[in-house]
Amino acid sequence: MTHNESMTIAPILEVKSISKFFGSVIALHDVSMFVRPGEVTCLLGDNGAGKSTLIKTLAGVHKPTEGEYFFEGKPVDFNSPRDALEHGIATVYQDLAMIPLMSIWRNFFLGSEPTKGVPPLRRFDVSHAKQVTREEMAKMGIDIRNPDQPVGTLSGGERQSVAIARAVYFGAKVLILDEPTAALGVKQAGVVLRYILQAKQRGIGVIFITHNPHHAYPVGDHFVILRRGTIYGDYAKADVPLEQLVSMMAGGADLEALSHELASASRTDTGRAAEELAEAAQAYHATAVEAAEGATQDE
């Protein structure tokens, strides 16, 4: 799917004039946004801008106080995250939604357990669950020898990787990622960006929250900037150069990395996203290039 084709496709998920109040707190006011299948919508903004609140509303955790929610063109009214999951919307929450005392495989499938057998003997297909967990984690570049290990004993990045692998596995139509790369090493961050591109190629709509413009710019198709609970702007990639994006993401970038990135970004036009990813990754670390090339080859 090329960039131009996708511009004409109807959004898979769209909210119009959403507001969310928590008592006297106005977390979101008159927010509209959308994501098309096969596109990556980057949701950017300062701390406390309302990004997590917005995606929790999309994921069925919060009910919007006001506004409309459309999925595949039809109005929907999610009463729980389960409703959203059943529509194929999977989310990596900022707090990861992991149970520390439970094993990796139990966490991976919590709420979406594969079963075998007929009632009343229907049971959790444990061996399948363990195998899938191991495979999906291996794809993330994390070798778990023992899927029985409690998630609480994993490192922060490993835990984040489990949450991402789980959402990628279950996100049939829309994948929502709330700062998925925050705790990740260079290589794993590269893998996540590559995942986002793969999901995009499969026609999945991706909503990607990050404070890192070097992660957002290479994969994003358009950039929604949230400021103090309202939409500040929604820019297609072609209309916004990286430096402008960075300046709009108040406080999002450290300047040294920024100038580094500017240098590498100016060498390329806004070409294919995977190539840019390779560029950005190169600016970081040589190992990330491997992952990015993998993504390019997949196309």
Binding site: V61, D95, I99, D143, I144, N146, R202
Partner: protein, 357 residues
Amino acid sequence: MTTTEEAPAPPETADERVRRVGGLANLMTRPEIGALAALVLVWVFFAIVAFDNNFVSMAATASILNRAAPLGILAVAVALLMIAGEFDLSVGSIIGFAGIAIMLMVTPGSAGGFGLALGPAIVIALLITLAAGLFNGILVVTTKLPSFIITLGGLFIFRGLATAAARIRTARTQLGGFGDVPGFDILNALLGQKIDIFGAAFDIAILWWIGLTALATWVLLRTKVGNWIYGVGGDTNASRNVGVPVNRLVVSLFVLTAFAAFLVALIQVTQFGGADSLRGEQQEFNAIIAAVVGGVLLTGGYGSVVGAAAGALIFALVQQGITITGVDADWFKVFVGAILVLAVIFNNYIRQRAQKR
């Protein structure tokens, strides 16, 4: 993820991110390990101290198991509920409540009852008892208050209802004559009879206890509902966010606990031929103690039904050991209290091993 492509082959760095867990270390993180060890210790202790009192005998063993069975049945449900992060302090009162409900249904109209046949009487009493569990569960999920407080209210409400209903209808709080109800023999064969093994009388309730423990263990470890129970107990919000129907699960578990109380009540009504509105007093605490001694975390998210069964057995062992040695019964409380504290300390250690980052 539907792609079948190979992993991005990062072997040299992946290895150092792996943490190996050995067999023994794995065993040490099992929730019931402490209770099983304590079970052996307590038994050996009394086997030595009370050897002259025939502690190691068929009769004493039968007596221990007969004591453990009703508590164990209760502890199965209470353990599941506690692993899901909730308490039910009303479960002892519900035993009394259910017993009175059963007896009021079968007692003839002339004596103030409803004079129903055994079958309908049991079904109606069961529905009333399950409604009590439903009441607890719905109140807990709608108010979002700690179940500890809600069911503390239930502890008084259901005990009071049992006593008041019995007194209003029959002017008594102890109702007998269950043995004369037509059909009693069938019920007795199922729930009340004693089985003679080498001259010792074992309650058939022991089989119910074992069966329910096995069933609940299977549900907990091998079904999706079991996965939800652990998840909800570990982190309610996270579980809800990944799609676990939290409210439905919690309400169901309260209903299940009420069901266990009903079963215990029915067993005891059959065994004793009647009900007493005071029956089941303190069983809520005893069941919690059995579960906690068995490795169930007070804060939820961790534990096992086998552990709770071991906890119930320890409870009965101590009770029998104290009785048989003729030591003042006050020491029983000291003993149980000490075991409870030791178990919590030990289980806390196990939990930290499992949770440590």
